[in-house]
Amino acid sequence: MRLRIASVVVLGFSSLWIAGPARAQTTTPPVRTRISINAGFQPVSTTFDGSTSKPLNLETAIIDTTYRVSRGKSFDGGVAFTMRNDFAVGIAVSSFSKETDTTVNATIPHPIFFNTPRAIAGTPSGLTRHELVAHVQAIYVIRPINRLDVAVGVGPSFFRVRHEFVSDVSVTEVYPYDSTTFAAASSQQATKFKTGFNVGVDFGIRMGRSVGVGGLVRFSRASVDFAVPNGNPNVTADVGGLQAGAGLRFYF
């Protein structure tokens, strides 16, 4: 499984943080609750392989598939509560959905002869990955200058990942069947829950009494074993990854 840094941030990500209680000398009022809404981007592509097999023509067809989950947009919303001084706790929910770049390489047994496999390759479309993640964070807030808050958070992430895997391929073949071409792939959806972790930095600039703008960078990760139909062995995929985003901050 590979992790690939794709490019710089394009859109934003969600985060939450809370500014510490305002001190008497500051011009900004104290904050007990902060809500953040971000549009973000997941700038990292991940690639993993899966393999399925099925009996065909008295032998076994092997279907090897490479899934590449490329960078894409995400959305994030969260809330944080000041617990004491510079410490807060929060929860954020992020959503990432992307059609995967899928490449199939398969060996299809010959219908007439034993031990005469035929190789095919194809790129099926329409297979998606959807990640819905709840990030729980313990947060420490730094205020280097007036109106700017920087929050560093860490905590567990609870992933719900839904991925569509290639479960079979159909081929086009004509007599004498010595070669064949990829026609289509059928897929099955697998959903898995898994606990991972997250660590991130969020900053906010207050533009008024209750409103501000901000941005975040977060890295979350979990390793998920999918029970793919006909999969042998199960497919293990890293989910989450580096996220970046920007959006609005509401202070109460």
Partner: protein
């Protein structure tokens, strides 16, 4: 267009055989073998052919696109005289667009007699039914033909192909006297919703069998290939086998098709007949682009278990020979079938020590029989004398070629070699000089065949003498085929041939296929076969090419000029 008289001296390369005088029904005439040896001669013959077509002296029997050379077509023409077919008068012409590339064949000139028969068709049928009790069907009604005899005379005759109890015989009845003037067997025999299931062959090998699910079972109907390929199991019912195969009195039923309840088929002759017939179709398609027997995906029908092994000791001699110890293709039986003999029970051997297993268990035997079908739908090489030996030889050549296409070269079971039938006709012990197989292309003399034209076996052209020794004399062209591929020295002539080599065997296979299945006229002799294979080699690879030289030298080595 220049005039061409029917005269040997006008065209170099024409062999002229003058008809002797004194035959009772003989017309005056001469046999002309068309083997042009120059472009000028070929063009003159083409002009002559054109004139004969215009005058209704030749009619086109078949015209097909060449599957080996795009743009080429091959015509097979048949000679007629006053509307009556002249038996054996055939010409094969190869065209490249409208340009003639080659012409060969045999025509008879100088015919001059009345074609009104004294004996009418009904009288001819009565005569036929009186000789051996043959059964006639509407499809085999007698046809009036002009029949040349071996001495060069001609007579008017009724020709019919009829079914006897264990044979299919072509009869010629003199249309004036009612006498049977010629008869010979038409059996071209070996010796004198797609689903794939697992099958076990006669030799215990595992293979995929293309079947069709039907009523909770699998039936031996191949639906993976373009043509219908079916294998019928007569379950050892001899009476039904005779009625279906030889008498044509009843037809194969759907209930006769071999079936199996499980997905593991262990009826070994069914498995091998079915798969090997399909392999042979595959070979012809992949090697030559040919689509089955007639190049139009004609149905292929195999018949297995025509008798029971346990009944062998009660079997009459003809049944023993035909349905236990033989395999044959019969174009006139049940619409065209391949029949595979049951072989001998365990522990029973021929007197020479050979054991016969199910004949369907040998890929070369199955391919040999199917090739008879190809010949039947292409050159129609007459199954007597030299043309009959060429017919047999072509089946041996293709049977061997199919083995090399699908099996690894070597000795022993399921290996490709130049023996015929060695996988199922095996020797239990080296008794009386017996060995595996029945013929050898590499060493025809091993099985008593001539390997040189000087040793040609001359026999009467009747069914009691192997139609003129067709299974013996096939050794000569067989050996030429072998030498053209592998090279070597002919034992009789001592002439050494440089073959194209085993890795280039496809070249020689294509040359012989082209010659035998596309260019050959039906009454070709060995000399004509030499000329036509050289023409095919020139077409495909050029004059002076290695394949061309190998074919030329191989024919020379076996004494065919």
């Amino acid at each position: 267009m220049r005039r061409l008289t029917w005269c040997a001296v006008c065209v170099a390369g024409i062999v002229v055989v003058a008809a002797p005088r004194g035959q009772s029904q003989a017309a005056r005439g001469r046999l002309l073998r068309i083997i042009p040896d120059s472009i000028g001669a070929m063009r003159e013959w083409d002009d002559a052919v054109e004139r004969m077509i215009r005058d209704d002296g030749l009619r086109v029997r078949m015209q097909r696109a060449d599957t080996l050379l795009p743009g080429r077509t091959v015509e097979q023409l048949v000679q007629y005289y006053k509307g009556v077919r002249v038996w054996g008068g055939t010409v094969s012409r190869q065209l490249d667009g409208t340009r003639v590339v080659s012409v060969s064949g045999t025509v008879y000139q100088g015919l001059d007699f009345d074609v009104t028969p004294t004996l009418d068709r009904d009288a001819a049928m009565t005569t036929l039914e009186n000789v051996g009790g043959p059964l006639l069907t509407p499809a085999t009604e007698p046809e009036l033909v002009i029949l040349p005899d071996d001495g060069g005379a001609f007579r008017l005759a009724w020709m019919a192909t009829v079914h006897t109890r264990t044979d299919v015989v072509r009869f010629f009845i003199d249309a004036n006297t009612g006498a049977v003037v010629r008869r010979y067997s038409m059996l071209q025999r070996q010796a004198p919703n797609a689903t794939v299931i697992r099958g076990i062959g006669v030799l215990g090998d595992e293979k995929k069998v293309s079947v069709t699910p039907f009523a909770g079972a699998f039936i031996a109907a191949d639906s993976l290939r373009p043509p219908v390929i079916e294998t019928y199991d007569l379950r050892g019912d001899l009476d039904r086998a005779i009625e279906i195969i030889f008498e044509n009195s009843i037809q194969l039923r759907s209930a006769d098709i071999a079936s199996n309840r499980s997905s593991n088929w262990i009826d070994t002759p069914v498995v091998d007949a079915h798969t090997y017939a399909a392999y042979t179709y595959d070979y012809y398609y992949k090697r030559f682009g040919r689509r089955g027997l007639d190049n139009a995906n004609r149905r292929l029908v195999n018949i297995v278990h025509p008798v029971k092994r346990s009944d062998i000791f009660d079997a009459p001699a003809d049944v023993l020979f035909m349905l236990y110890l033989n395999a044959f293709y019969c174009g006139e039986c049940a619409g065209g079938v391949m029949v595979f003999g049951e072989g001998l029970p365990g522990g029973v051997y021929l007197t020479n020590g050979q054991r016969f297993d199910f004949l369907a268990g040998a890929l070369d035997i199955v391919a040999h029989e199917l090739t008879h079908g190809v010949t039947n739908y292409s050159s129609q090489l007459e199954y007597v004398n030299e043309s009959g030996a060429l017919n047999e030889a072509f089946s041996d050549m293709m049977g061997t070629s199919v083995e090399f296409f699908f099996q690894k070269p070597g000795n022993g079971p399921l290996k490709a070699d130049y023996l015929i039938g060695e996988d199922v006709l095996t020797c239990c012990a080296p008794l009386f000089g017996a060995h595996d197989g029945i013929r050898s292309l590499a060493d025809p003399a091993r099985d008593g065949q001539p390997d040189h034209y000087s040793k040609l076996v001359v026999l009467p052209a009747d069914d009691e003498h192997d139609n003129g020794g067709v299974h013996a004399n096939s050794g000569i062209p067989n050996h030429a085929f072998y030498l053209a591929i592998e090279g070597g020295t002919n034992r009789t002539s001592g002439i050494r041939v440089q073959g194209v080599g085993a890795s280039n065997r496809e070249q020689i296979e294509r040359v012989f296929y082209r010659a035998f299945a596309q260019l050959m006229p039906s009454n070709a002799n060995f000399s004509m076969a030499r000329a036509i294979t050289l023409q095919a080699a020139q077409d495909l690879y050029g004059a002076g090419s290695l394949p061309y030289n190998a074919v030329r030298d191989a024919w020379t080595a076996v004494g065919v000029k």
